[in-house]
Subunit: 347 residues, 2 copies
DNA sequence: ACCTCCAATGTCAGCGCTAACATCGCTAGT
DNA sequence: ACTAGCGATGTTAGCGCTGACATTGGAGGT
């Protein structure tokens, strides 16, 4: 046991490290580290020389090692129901871009509204010591709630807006969207207003919109006519069916508010095929402002949710919580964004 | 200098570590590590006891430390032009979902077609020692090329398909899409065919499609009529302008192939307003099969690129390269997927 | 001349985990 | 009985970086 065991062979190949750069410049590794993380604490001259050595050597900082040492990372995890749908894509885009502008990375997973998938994504993300975590809506599995409660990193819930909950929230009230739609239809002089939702989808937020609409009509002394097409059909077909059925009624509605733009598009098409004039015979309104809304004939009046804004605002709140960008006041916990009424030809 | 300096205080709070679990069970840390990474090398009994301790303590493995130690991670980086557009969203979705099914995470950034932004994303990603990297198309900055060439992790290029390049590629030939469109129009009996592209966008792939179309017409003894609306206008407006201008020609075309569905939708709308019958007076075809294509009136014939398939296939190739899933043969380097002709009413 | 103070830089000890190697106990072959 | 061989587990030494603290040297005050 006298002589020390011979040095083991290195495991990693010739990766260029901080030390290589430091040696080249003739400073300590820590100074090079500062060059990346606190450049203002390095003298101008060294800053210059280190910068040159870095690009000469093609050094790429090992963020994994840095995160381990500092117990911090510039990764932010986001779990969202789906990526490719018309709804969330721009939220992701806004979030990702805003993060990137401030040197943070996005770790993304989709849950398809499954609390289990959400939990497994959150668990995996937590292993990366992310700087923050963003989840969609306030409905989580018990396990997720526990994980989120125990962590001390900032957590942001998006899309939903539930004032009584603890974490930072960025979203809007679907109820308000319903009110907005109802007011618009009333202003235009419509009185016999129907609400069409696809009963198949467990879309609870649509119910909030319907309630907002119904309440507004009630204040005006009117009653909302609720209609759900037969379960199980695709939104487009369901919208068509709804339009056909409603138009056969003796006291048919003079305006239909569809739960989303897909339904509305189906309705619009059915109306065309039936030879109805829109909005003359019946006004049509949707929700979502999907890309095609302005391309329909007639173009579709709808409510545009603040998708992009939610992504951007969520990123800002995250960055503020992390102290990456300044806030005068403490980080705003509740962030209620507004939907936007998009008036087009169909109303 | 006689006595050793007193132990420094710990920097991290009471995070639960592998050692905590190991102590609780009465084994070494390494055995717990094996429990997570090579469960088959741990005896059944220990597997059981460790599993219980893990959930009792609520232990979440620190992937950062693990990656540093093993110089490997289960993160895959993807750089894509944009997230929210109609084109790439489902590629991301397919990629992310396939990765997730095999326990890998997606690190995502968008480049907006800017080689500089792409390079900075690639650089940041490389700092995370990702398991693999996916970039869009073969056009990169010099710096990116260098970074990709020097790394030894698998690199996959998607969307474009350039047989002579080195990395794994998953994509399709835009030229073929043009051929496919031309054949369809010829079969339908159209002879005076125009191609409309938005000159504003530096959309080189559209040129490939045009070339494929032109070649096919030439084989049939016909010539493609190329038209570019005035620069700088939005696709929708540009499509409208193209339709109006082309229809004023004395020998007007009997079919128009638009460079994408947005242009085509504008064209369709203009035709409606001009009182033209589609496809009677003029057939209209697009490219992309955006969500609205089937909701237009008439519904739009178009070419559907294999967006989802590209994402899924890219993920499979990545996982194969990593040895996560089996391949009999060596990983296929060139993966040419097919577009799909979507015949609807407009032709 | 002396001291204080601050900015610039360095030393040292880990962060939590895993690769490589060592060891232990047992089965099986001779 | 003896040992080769194997599966299960332990020991050691980092992975590349950064936090806390130490040190240095010069500006500025008295």
């Amino acid at each position: 046991m006298s002589d020390p065991s011979p040095p083991r062979k290195r495991r990693t190949a010739g990766r260029i490290t901080l030390n290589d750069v430091a040696r080249q410049v003739g400073v300590s590794a820590l100074t090079v580290s500062r060059f990346f993380n606190h450049p203002e604490r390095v003298s101008e001259e060294l800053r210059h020389r280190i910068g040159e050595a870095v690009s000469a050597l093609g050094y790429v900082p090992n963020l994994v090692a840095g995160s381990l040492a500092s117990a911090r990372s510039r990764i932010v995890g986001m779990v969202i129901p789906n990526i490719s749908g018309p709804i969330f894509a721009s939220t992701i885009q806004g979030f990702s871009d805003t993060l990137a502008r401030h040197g943070h990375q996005l770790l993304l997973a989709s849950s398809y509204f499954s609390p289990e998938q959400e939990e497994s994504a959150v668990r995996a993300f937590l292993g990366w010591s992310p700087a923050a975590l963003v989840v969609t809506s306030h409905f989580h599995s018990e396990g997720t709630e526990k994980l989120l409660a125990e962590t001390d990193i900032p957590v942001v819930e998006i899309w939903d807006y539930q004032p009584e909950r603890a974490p930072i929230q960025v979203g809007f009230l679907h109820y308000d969207a319903g009110v907005m739609a109802a007011r618009h239809l009333l202003e235009r002089g419509y009185r016999r207003i129907a609400f069409v939702q696809n009963s198949a989808a467990g879309d609870f937020s649509a119910l909030d919109r319907r309630d907002g609409c119904a309440a507004t009509l009630r204040d005006a002394g009117l009653e909302l006519w609720s209609f759900a097409p037969s379960a199980g059909s695709a939104p487009f077909e369901a919208g068509r069916e709804a339009m056909e059925r409603l138009m056969q009624e003796t006291h048919r509605p003079d305006a239909i508010l569809f739960a989303n733009d897909n339904l509305a598009a189906g309705g619009l098409l059915a109306a065309q095929r039936m030879g109805l004039r829109i909005p003359g015979d019946c006004a049509v309104m949707g929700f979502g402002d999907y890309a095609f809304a302005e391309m329909l004939l007639p173009s579709l009046s709808t409510i545009r949710p603040p998708s992009l804004g939610i992504g951007e605002t969520a990123a800002l709140r995250v960055l503020e919580s992390l102290g990456v960008i300044a806030t005068e006041a403490p980080v705003q916990r509740l962030n209620r964004l507004e939907c936007q009424l998009v008036e087009r030809e169909s109303t």
